[in-house]
Symmetry: C2
Subunit: 530 residues, 2 copies
């Protein structure tokens, strides 16, 4: 009490002196430029403030003024488009020359990445594609994770089942325009969702319920929908890096989700550790971002390994502890060509130890079935609300009913699908071994992998400098001198420079031989004149 009173009276008595001094100072400054005008506004206000209720109004009025100033500034700022340099010109009568109209800042952001290595490599290949006979000096495409090794199997099936593509209506499986031309359930025909559930069950050795499947026009659309459903704009997903280069486009461009890399290192064989996860999580929180999900790919793109059950449990345990979602991109689930076998997160969820509702699986037919052009993606969510919202959002990315019909028939032929899977995996393994043997001969190291359409290769020793710049310099030489387009590790957000993803799914075995010769010669040249 005594303390309070003392403080109070001393403050009020000293304030009296200060106010006197203030007045004196104000009078002294009257001659200064503009000071008089300022005083005329502020001093009366202070009079009002101090004249009535002291510290209460003395705090409330400045705060209120400050608040309205913020409001005014905010409104005036939001009327401009942040990324365009010029503000919209002032309105003029309609007869004057037309004013330029602006695209949105998100549109401008999206067209910014024209000059990424991915785009440059793709462009170089498109302009000058290698062909053994017609263009033997062209660029060989090893930057695209695409599987063309088993097209003949799929085409063989299609040719031996002409009724599936026929409109003649001669059999139960043939097409009827009446059956498919009209509006369908936007998230996939019930029959295809049912067949897809059985196919995934067989592939992943876990139960799948067709009602929790949302089909989308490609896995890209599936990932984006999860971005919208799991996060607010500006929230973050953690992603073990190196990761699939386009994850960023998928969730950032329109859903506004930030990706935060969880760095994995060569010393851990690029496996994610709980320490790295914890560190990334707390650093992200410190940056003021809210983490809403952990996004992983299994089999991993670009490393090409599968995650074991213990790792998956650790990841789900981490998501549970932090109360975030776990998104597992399992689009290469059927492209495992060596042991250990693939383990889906569905197996871990099925153990009953964890709350399923935070788990969401991405699948699609682009990789395992060589059908990227057909645009078929799958969201499998254990969360009812996410499932419902994803169903509704699939109105923006429904699959053509013609293709749904075809795929229903093909996936229903379980005997063919089993044989196809085995043969496709055999071919992938064979191609992988030819590639890695060639890389070894060039003196290159790589991470031993068992899945996917690519190999994760260390070319750090060929770099002029151990940096991202050195890596991109090497990538450029590979593209322009060796005429090989690959994916630089920096495009995959790899923390260590010098790693490259080399895809082998688009090349015939003759073309692969040519590619390996080029890589070996390039390596030799680089070593001679670094």
């Amino acid at each position: 009490m005594t303390h309070d009173n003392n403080t109070h009276s001393s403050s009020s008595s000293s304030s009296r002196n200060i106010i006197e001094e203030d007045r004196q100072r104000a009078e002294d400054r009257e001659g200064g430029i503009g000071a008089g005008a300022g005083m005329r506004i502020i001093v009366p206000l202070q009079g009002v403030v101090q004249g009535r209720g002291g510290f209460v109004l003395g705090s409330v009025i400045p705060c209120a003024l400050f608040y309205f100033l913020q409001l005014y500034l905010k409104r005036h700022r939001s009327e401009r488009t942040p990324r365009e340099e010029l503000p919209p010109p002032p309105r003029r009568p309609s007869k004057s020359p037309p004013k330029p109209v602006l695209a949105s800042s998100r549109a401008l952001h999206v067209i910014e990445d024209e000059n990424s290595p991915y785009n440059r490599g793709w462009q170089a290949y498109k302009e000058n594609p290698y062909d053994a006979e017609s263009n033997p000096d062209g660029v060989i495409q090893m930057g695209l994770a695409d599987n063309q090794l088993s097209w003949d199997l799929i085409e063989g099936w299609l040719k031996s089942h002409p009724e599936v593509s026929s409109w003649e209506g001669m059999s139960d499986t043939s097409l009827s325009l009446r059956g498919i031309a009209g509006y369908q359930e936007i998230h996939g025909m019930p029959i295809l969702r049912s067949v897809m559930a059985e196919f995934m069950c067989e592939l992943m050795n876990a139960p799948f319920n067709p009602d929790q499947i949302v089909l989308t026009a490609g896995a890209t659309a599936a990932i984006e929908i999860l971005g919208f459903c799991l996060a607010e704009p500006g929230n973050a997903f953690l992603v073990p890096s190196p990761y699939y280069p386009s994850f960023c486009k998928d969730v950032k461009w329109r859903a506004g989700v930030e990706l935060v890399p969880v760095p994995c290192r060569s010393s851990d064989n690029f496996n994610v550790t709980i320490n790295a996860l914890d560190r990334a999580f707390s650093q992200t929180k410190k940056r003021g971002l809210t983490v809403r999900a952990l996004l992983i790919s299994n089999p991993c793109n670009p490393v090409g390994n599968t995650l074991d059950s213990a790792t998956l449990s650790m990841l789900l345990g981490f998501a549970t502890e932090k109360n975030i979602h776990l998104v597992c991109d399992e689009i290469y689930a059927g492209s495992v060509y060596d042991s250990p076998n693939f383990t889906s997160i569905a197996n871990v969820v099925d153990s009953g130890e964890f709350d399923k509702s935070r788990v969401h699986i991405i699948y699609g037919t682009s990789k395992d079935l060589c059908l990227p052009g057909f645009r078929v993606g799958v969201i499998y969510s254990y969360n009812d609300k996410v499932c419902k919202a994803a169903q509704k959002m699939s109105r923006f990315c429904s699959i053509s009913s013609q293709t749904q019909h075809l795929l229903t028939a093909m996936l229903s032929d379980t005997k063919f699908m089993q044989l196809y899977k085995i043969e496709n995996q055999r071919r992938l393994g064979e191609r992988y071994h030819v590639l890695t043997k060639g890389l070894e001969e060039a003196g290159m190291k790589y991470v031993k992998s068992n899945a996917g359409l690519y190999c994760w290769v260390d070319m750090g020793y060929l770099m002029p400098s151990y940096s991202e710049k050195g890596e991109l310099n090497l990538w450029d030489k590979l593209l322009n001198e060796a005429k090989i387009n690959v994916t630089p590790g920096s495009a995959c957000y790899c923390i260590e420079p010098g790693w490259f993803r080399i895809c082998f799914g688009t090349l015939s075995s003759q073309d692969l031989t040519v590619a390996l010769q080029r890589i070996q010669e390039f390596s030799k040249r680089c070593k001679r004149s670094p």
Copy 2:
């Protein structure tokens, strides 16, 4: 000068008294709960403030404290999901029972509209669909703007061109998996974009450049992309009302664009006026929203009329004056069954009077070609940046290459397409006249229309009360008593209650007769016992 000094000294002397009074009041309140603690914090601060530099610090310190308080509140608020009622529970060690994980507020928003009349009507039809033989008391669907009247023509063409759907590779047009299974240009195969440009040119009598075409999985995705490309989240599009009910989902759900209706009235035959546009524009600005585009449908859905060249010029003039974009949804361009002929905005743009870069056209094959299941939409933009951004965003909604192949072949058959268009329009006109004759017999008024798959009918005189509630009450009776599902005007944001959209494109002529009998009987019953 004198005035300033007076003010200053009087304020400082009065403030002295007040500070004394404050101290007294504070001492009096000491017994009150918590008041003492508050004083201990605020009073020393006031001492500091008034002890050094008076009004400067006296304003700056409260403002700074207020600013940090806002920052603190903002951060803590953004960590919560606004629409979920419970905040995330505090973090617990990993062995405790799992915590519920939250979906995003946008996901929850999307699943909110389950109970809209559109969904309820659709559900009622799905559960109890009318069939003349197997379910004669079922619901007749007249709420879906779908064209099934010319399926036989399309199916006939498909049957007479089996090579287009065959994988046998016997002809130039037959399918080759090698040609289509791989990744395609995401915004559409060049050949289809070229054929589509020619088809639109023939249909709309204006030149179209294939490079400005972006193909998407349905017009829904096309509209959404324009939402992303033309506006920031929270910006607005003006839309003459009544309008297509799902525009709102298309641009609001994920792109975050607000739709502001520009009310059109029956006294103007539901044509939009420049006054209504000006009023809506300035009112929207007053609400603090930035208008970025005017979105129109031509032919108009739900009214069914086409806009003439003068109206289109007026709309483009308005967009020019306000420096906003103009989006024209022309998805019913080929479904004009009576004079006047269709005029595309492309014709007006072509006159050269206006800056093209603000104009964007939506098209698709769902309505004119009876193929909604195939999910084929078109963005035609005269704006290079929007075009480029839309191309990149089409990665989320590419069309199956199998369907692109089929459509390329079909649209290339220009002779068939011309005959198809004439016959389809004849059928639509015939069906429209049967419907309107039946409505006249029931004593109903409607807007005379010349395009689309629907009729815009005034049933206001049957409503128990002239209000939206009265309208929905009547809609409910129509659905549950007359077993007719139609679209209430309020779902189309019509400002006048009592109007309904009745679609006729899904019914056989026998089913239409039954529907009209039901409507006539319902009208009689209502008039007898309102």
